[in-house]
Amino acid sequence: MKFRFRELPAAGSVATRPVVDVWLEGLEVTGLGCLLDTGAMHTRFSADIAEIAGIGFEAEETSRFAVAGRIVEGRPARVGLSLRDAVERHDWDAIVWFCDPWPFDFQLLGLQGFLRHFRVTVSAYHEWVDCAPETDEPFLEPAGRHQLP
């Protein structure tokens, strides 16, 4: 599935960013604008999104992270995500860390939760992102591997 970069207004010009829209189970009215973050171990969303989608947390586990220069507290949850375009849809289970506070404009897609599931090609020159599922088989992320080593 190929997505054009998101255009954003910048002072007197246009900025483009590699944003991919990911759909979260429980939130069927809209996809979530997510930035590709190839340097991030985890996929992180705002805790507000978990509340809106009615995501439950099985464990009380929380961790503090430094995200883009900010300290946030996150809780992991195994959720259903999907990537969609006009003709195709790919669903997968992922561990997403829901974080608070979340002062960012987009959600973040990292290795766990997203990049492990897709072969991603980014053309910054042509301003598109191509996400091809690595396998047609469901890939269940091991629950014990969502901690940083």
Partner: protein, 159 residues
């Protein structure tokens, strides 16, 4: 203050009163026509219903547009497709030739839901955006906050 007769009733209206009437209302889904009030695009009938209390069945979109344009509000027609609806700067670039950025520009700092190049709704929180989509039976492609400053547009972390 100007006097208008709508659906047989007389109303004394001015811009401030119109702005105040819709200040707490998110714009409903646009059909063909819209009017810009405080930087937001509203269906004309929503605005007139809010400021007069009239039932929307009591007047037409054309009447609502006429009243609002006479009060100095900009009214326009929704257009779709390439080059439609949004002014494109001369130096436009990007995969949508600047049209997406220009559509988002009025909503800097706000949470938006978009479908294609169209901004369906803008609100102060993601919860408000989702509530609006659910209430109006709309489905969007994407929800995010339009970056408010050069740092976050450029990828720098907020401080």
């Amino acid at each position: 203050m100007r006097t208008f007769t709508i659906s047989g009733q007389t109303f004394h209206l001015d811009r401030a009163r119109v702005c105040s009437a819709v200040a707490e209302q998110l714009p409903e889904p646009l059909q063909e026509h819209f009017v810009i009030v405080d930087g937001r695009r509203y269906p004309p009938k929503q605005v007139i219903a809010a400021v007069t209390g009239l039932d929307r069945a009591d007047f037409t979109t054309h009447q609502a547009r006429r009243v609002l344009t006479r009060l100095g509000f900009v009214a326009a027609r929704q257009t779709y497709g390439k080059g439609g609806g949004v002014a494109v700067p001369d130096a436009a670039r990007g995969p949508f030739e600047g049209r997406q950025a220009e559509a988002l520009r009025p909503f800097i700092g706000r949470w938006v839901a978009i479908r294609g190049l169209e901004v369906l709704v803008a609100a102060d929180s993601p919860a408000d955006v989702v509530a609006w989509l659910s209430r109006h039976g709309q489905q969007a492609d994407s929800m995010f906050r339009v970056p408010a400053d050069a740092g976050s547009v450029g990828g720098a972390a907020p401080v």
